[in-house]
């Protein structure tokens, strides 16, 4: 891997001893010996195992839960339902007044996605727990379900979550996170070409090789220690404290190395219920997702549907861009309201466009709740934006790379979300790519700079 030192040479001062050196990682020796401790790498005498009974329906009312056969099953120590959870709601960041609190830890009146947790069974072996979970009887009344983001927004669509009252998250800006700069209609009037395109993606899984899970252990000093693969120690601890109505000082969270995260281990869906099981049984409890749960139950990257309408002049300038982006949050919010907002700040891409209108919607459907994944709010947007740039270039018979040079942002340019561009380097990346990959562009583009607008 080469570091090209000629760019921004006057900004790159620094005489360092350690920085810039490829020092050997501190953890690799442990990795190659197989002794890096992941959360499940411990022996806990008396360990109990938790398995979850999950909704088999996309959308249904819960009529009755009968866990009596499960409770009687050999090896079962405890069966936990919604009534046992002191504060039965995931609290996101309620400590700093960030919600919404629209998702129960265990379902009680309704299930809103196939796989939603309903009853937790705790037993002295994995096998007992699985067998007992299969004996829990839940009576449901199925309800119509909605799976398409635009269908979910039509009048008459099945309502996914009564908490919201409609199938979208209500921002203070209305049904979408809005970004407005200039006047797109005026911009479209001035354009020589107008195109509107649609882009889609489907949910994508983090699929880390280590599955989500934790082991909760009643510990010394009347505390509970939770060994977990979470990506956010305090976020999870504070959520658990609120859900369990247990003061934070009684909880001790220990992480280590997570066996791959990619954003999939920030939803704290296992720690609170496992800690509760440990509290109720007085025994250590493990809850480790099997691979099916990791695939279908743990959150995925939200599917998105993005419409981009552009106004383009003959000389290759984008004069107006309107983006409508629908983020499929699944049945509950988790971090999707923030993800859609992050997308709104990311559009229209690293290009300077004088008239911009962006609306990003966080939409509820009856599927596995989506949440953060590597590139949250940005990855699918970049797919749409950069394919669109390719189409626009060809519309005006321009080279796709040259077209990007013409529109690239530079220091001092106003971004659509009203921040001035600083530290831009898109032009330099493209210049290096052009010469290195032998994708020739006109020499005037190789003379451009992110630091000033000339040409």
């Amino acid at each position: 891997m080469e570091i090209s030192k000629s760019y921004f040479a006057d900004e790159r001062h620094g005489d360092f001893k350690e920085i810039g050196q490829s020092r050997q990682r501190s953890d690799t020796a442990g990795h190659v010996r197989g002794i890096t401790p992941f959360y499940a790498d411990r022996h806990v005498p008396g360990l109990l195992h938790l398995r979850m009974v999950r909704s088999p329906h996309h959308h249904a009312r819960i009529l009755r839960i009968d866990a009596s056969a499960a409770e009687r099953h050999p090896g079962v120590k405890r069966v936990i339902t919604a009534m046992d959870v002191p504060h039965n709601v995931y609290t996101v960041l309620s400590l700093i007044n960030i919600g919404p609190e629209d998702e129960p830890v265990l379902a009680f009146d309704k299930v809103r996605w196939l796989g939603e947790p309903v009853v937790a069974v705790v037993a002295d072996s994995e096998r007992s727990a699985y067998e007992a979970a299969a004996l829990v009887r839940v009576d449901y009344e199925e309800l119509p379900a909605v799976f398409d983001v635009e269908d979910a927004l039509k009048p008459g669509a099945p309502l996914v979550n009564e908490y919201h009252g409609q199938n979208y998250y209500r921002y203070d800006s209305g049904a979408s996170r809005k970004v407005r700069l200039g006047d797109v209609e005026a911009g479209f009037q001035k354009a020589d070409y107008i195109i509107e395109e649609r882009y889609d993606s489907s949910p994508i899984e983090h699929a880390p090789t280590e599955t989500t899970g934790c082991i909760a252990v009643p510990d010394q000093n009347n505390r509970l220690t939770c060994y977990t693969g979470t990506q956010a120690i305090f976020f999870t601890l504070d959520n658990a404290s609120i859900i369990l109505d247990v003061p934070g000082q009684r909880l001790h969270f220990v992480g280590g190395t997570a066996g791959g995260g990619f954003g999939g281990k920030v939803d704290c869906t296992v720690e609170p219920i496992t800690l509760l099981a440990a509290m109720l049984t007085g025994r250590p409890v493990a809850f480790i997702y099997n691979r099916y749960e990791e695939m279908q139950i743990s959150s995925a990257r939200a599917a998105e549907r993005i419409y981009i309408k552009d106004g383009l002049t003959k000389d290759g300038r984008i004069v107006a861009r309107r983006v409508r982006c629908y983020v499929d949050s699944g049945a509950y919010s988790r971090h999707s309201p923030y993800g859609a907002q992050k997308a709104a700040a990311h559009f229209p891409g690293p290009y300077t466009i004088p008239n911009v209108e962006i609306d990003c919607y966080c939409v509820y459907t009856n599927r596995t709740p989506s949440s953060a994944m590597r590139g949250f709010g940005v990855t699918i947007a970049d797919f749409a934006l950069e394919v669109q740039m390719d189409k626009l270039a060809r519309l005006v018979a321009m080279d796709p790379l040259e077209f990007r040079f013409i529109n690239a942002y530079r220091d001092g340019d106003m971004k659509a979300h009203r921040q001035l561009t600083e530290g831009a380097a898109l032009i330099e990346c493209m210049q290096e790519a052009s010469t290195w990959a032998n994708w020739p562009v006109d020499s005037r583009y190789l003379k451009m700079s992110s630091r000033e607008r000339k040409g």
């Binding site: 020796a29 442990g30 990795h31 190659v32 699929a207 090789t209 280590e210 691979r291």
Partner: protein, 170 residues
């Protein structure tokens, strides 16, 4: 639950235990022997993180019954390094920065060892094939392949096309 006796060699040591009938080799290694190096990534034989060697062959411990391993010779990562010295494969992964989260690393090592024990000078395609049952989500595989090739002998990067490919990734 019926208990059955099993006896085998694990990393050169004779082990004899009573186990629940139907116990997997993975559970035996982790819970009975206390060897935590083999990992439980999927428990269905699809990810390779539980790869160990049984009589020199790479096997998935999560879908192998320990009862079927009687009199077998089991090797895990715990047995790779003699004393404090790392096995050449372990050293190669270290030198090539070929591990990030480390969860797939034990399985990769055992699959690679099985290859080199039977084929000391594999070409790139043979390395890819040997590791094709081991999933990695972090590294993109390339540094692992190069690490294994570096152990395999002087012509590590094979023919011109392969060498170009190797050099291109420096």
């Amino acid at each position: 639950m019926t208990k059955v006796p099993v006896q085998m060699t694990v990393n050169g040591e004779e082990r004899a235990e009573f186990v629940d009938s139907g116990m997997t080799l993975l559970k035996f290694l982790r819970d009975k022997i206390g060897d935590l190096t083999a990992k439980a990534g999927c428990l269905q034989g699809t990810c390779g993180t539980c790869t160990v060697l049984i009589d020199g062959e790479p096997r998935l411990a999560c879908v192998t019954l320990v009862e079927d391993c009687r009199s077998g010779t089991i090797e895990t990562v715990s047995g790779l390094s003699e004393d404090a010295e790392l096995h050449p494969l372990q050293q190669a992964l270290l030198d090539h920065f070929a591990a990030q989260c480390g969860f797939c690393t034990p399985g990769m090592l055992m699959a690679a060892k099985a290859l080199l024990d039977s084929n000391p000078h594999p070409d790139r395609a043979e390395v890819e094939d040997a590791l094709s049952g081991n999933i990695c989500r972090c590294t993109g595989y390339e540094p692992i392949i190069r690490a294994v090739l570096s152990v395999s002998g002087s012509n590590a990067c094979g023919d011109t096309a392969e060498r170009e490919r190797c050099d291109g990734n420096k």
